[in-house]
């Protein structure tokens, strides 16, 4: 096990920041460097980082985090409509509102643990989804989804005297339009900040208490610690991350629909976290990236593309291969995702991060054994200590 030190964490933070900011460059060869997808990487990265603070540390599996995503989106769009097209109030209000929602839902759901907690959160999310579709139509605009319109008051903007334009003005960050690469960099910087906060939490006494909840909640209360406020705080923090992700969705594309709250969206973030590595710092970000990338690549492939790939085969074989593989692409890309998920869970329960660390161990062991021949005594001394 690698023990974390402030120096190593600083190094990790540096590498992470560099890697995220240069994503448009190093993702270009695999065709993933266009802004729309990059924005989604960052947004879902934030969502998964926050989810991991709850699920990875305390082990409480929430199945309703999409509700906070939706709340964040609706709040942000309302902020655009009523206040200003600036993204700053939109993001702040999105985070606050979803945090308040998380206090209520968390306070009730955390009365139970394990499967009952998951069911309660799922029930709350489905309730929110159905409310958004029906009763709350004045706020959510029902099936159509909440959209901007020319007649919106935008009180702050008119107060400051932003020049009227013929169309709906774009979302902006102090004048910088939040579309394309600037939108990505806005999301990316927020993800880096979110990652840093999550790292501080992981290394803090608070994070240690959350791990204690997961490890043995019984011992925790006989150690004089009150579990409920710890889990509730973790729940609210992760809800606020989800709200931030939701408001960023509205920032990059200013509309909000109820389908964002559907249980599939809650399930997706669970998949991302497990795929990347539950309870690891970097895992959820990797998981989010992999799932969004595969969604993008595989759903874009259609039968024509497959025919092109298998062009070299005789026609009978070609048709057969295409018929089978077309199930796994396009609309059916979830089938590929499901297979990938199964493989990971069966062979790498610790997710992609565990895969990396296994490879790292193997390389190190190989080096050790070659060094060992030259310096047998030295390595024999090292081994028991590890």
């Amino acid at each position: 096990m690698i023990t974390a030190t402030p120096r190593k964490d600083l190094l990790l933070m540096g590498i992470f920041t560099f890697a995220v900011l240069t994503m448009p460059i190093w993702l270009a060869p695999i065709g993933a460097s266009y802004p729309d997808l990059l924005q989604r990487f960052a947004i879902f990265g934030i969502f998964a980082i926050g989810f991991n603070i709850l699920f990875g540390l305390t082990g409480y599996l929430s199945f309703g985090h999409a509700a906070f995503l939706g709340v964040g989106s609706y709040t942000a769009v309302w902020s655009f409509k009523l206040l200003s097209m600036s993204v700053v109030p939109a993001v702040i209000f999105g985070v606050i509102t979803s945090g308040l929602f998380a206090v209520v839902i968390g306070y009730i759901s955390l009365r139970r643990s394990g499967i009952y907690f998951s069911i309660l959160t799922l029930a709350f999310a489905q309730m929110s989804y159905n409310l958004a579709y029906s009763v709350l139509t004045p706020i959510t605009n029902g099936e159509t989804g909440l959209q901007l319109s020319l007649n919106d008051p935008r009180a702050l903007d008119s107060l400051v005297g932003v020049a009227e334009t013929s169309g709906i003005p774009p979302t902006n960050f102090f004048g910088i339009e939040m579309s394309g690469y600037s939108g990505f960099y806005f999301c990316a910087i927020l993800m880096i900040i979110g990652f840093y906060i999550s790292m501080r939490i992981f290394r803090s006494p608070f994070g240690m208490m959350l791990r204690a909840v997961k490890s043995n909640s019984n011992r925790m209360s006989y150690t004089g610690l009150n579990m409920r406020p710890y889990t509730l705080t973790a729940f609210v923090i992760s809800g606020m991350y989800a709200g931030l992700a939701g408001s960023l969705m509205a920032v990059t594309d200013p509309l909000a629909g109820a389908e964002r709250m559907q249980w599939t969206a809650s399930g997706e973030v669970v998949l991302m976290t497990i795929l990347g590595g539950v309870g690891t710092l970097i895992g959820p970000v990797i998981g989010a990236g992999v799932i969004k990338y595969f969604e993008n690549i595989f759903s874009a492939i259609n039968e024509n593309v497959l025919h092109g790939i298998f062009d070299f085969l005789p026609e009978v074989l070609q048709d057969g291969a295409v018929a089978v593989l077309s199930l796994f692409v396009g609309e059916g890309w979830h089938l590929t995702l499901g297979m990938l998920f199964m493989l990971i869970v069966i062979f790498l329960p610790g997710g992609i991060v565990e895969g990396f660390s296994r490879i790292y161990e193997r390389i190190r062991n190989k080096n050790n054994s070659t060094n060992g021949k030259a310096d047998a005594v030295g390595s024999a001394k090292v081994q028991p200590g590890e």
């Binding site: 501080r200 043995n216 150690t223 004089g224």
Partner: protein, 251 residues
């Protein structure tokens, strides 16, 4: 007046009378052993002390305050720590973390949102925890996962987790069950050393060797009630105790 006063505690599980008018006084600074045959209600009684079970009637006073009706973490914060029959430790965490958590709990209380500072840079806490691990002889294994320890080591770790909080009263539920003779003797030595710190201890034990080397006072329980109480020597010859253990047969 004792540090722990138990008056007329009753507990029923359906038709079974698990505790029947239990009375107990524990003096401050003493080691009080509770012995008795299987099913006598010893563990049930201990569970009533830490808030795991609520007695049907009676009172439990610790330092003059009632322990009934308050939550387990509040009982611990009041100064009562417990070592369980099967070690309750944080199996996924390292030994150091296992001891750091109770250390933080005793310094910061039941809840403190301390989410920004690094735990591993808090030299006061780490120092106390490491010192405690040294005391129980586990310092070499500080970075191991607690779940991979042997049973004897897990017990010692749990003991360390309780001791690092400097409790006023330490409850031990069969601290040497399933241990080898050598491990048992180590534990006895350790407990004797703790005795020098003046922590009051209540020990439930089957092993008479342990009881007679540690206890100042012994209470014997049978069928949910305390049938005899006295010094270890006095208890040895008591006919009621022999009857409870041996069902009336005389040696």
């Amino acid at each position: 007046m004792g540090i722990l006063e138990v008056r007329d505690v009753n507990k029923r599980f359906g038709g079974l009378k698990a505790l029947d008018k239990v009375e107990l006084d524990v003096e401050e600074g003493s080691v009080h052993a509770i012995i008795g045959p299987n099913g006598a209600g010893k563990s049930t009684f201990l569970n009533c002390l830490v808030g795991l079970l609520v007695p049907d009637s009676g009172s439990v006073n610790f330092n003059g305050n009632s322990l009934l009706g308050i939550k387990p973490h509040e009982i611990n914060q009041a100064g009562v720590s417990r070592v369980f029959q099967t070690p309750e430790i944080f199996g996924d965490l390292t030994l150091l973390d296992n001891v750091v958590i109770p250390t933080l709990a005793s310094r910061d209380g039941a809840f403190k949102l301390n989410g920004w500072k690094r735990a591993d840079q808090d030299s006061e806490i780490i120092g106390r925890a490491e010192h405690m691990l040294e005391d129980v002889g586990l310092i070499d294994k500080r970075n191991m996962h607690a779940g991979s320890l042997s049973r004897g080591d897990k017990r010692r770790l749990e003991l360390a987790m309780c001791l690092v909080q400097n409790p006023k009263l330490l409850l031990l539920d069969e601290p040497t069950a399933g241990m080898s003779r050598a491990d048992t003797n180590n534990t006895i030595d350790l407990l004797k050393r703790i005795g020098e710190r003046g922590i009051t201890k209540v020990i439930i034990e089957h092993d008479m060797h342990v009881v007679f080397s540690l206890a100042d006072k012994v209470s014997v329980m049978a069928q949910g009630t305390v049938i005899a109480e006295g010094t270890p020597e006095g208890i040895k010859g008591d006919p009621r105790v022999q009857e409870a253990y041996l069902g009336g047969a005389h040696l």
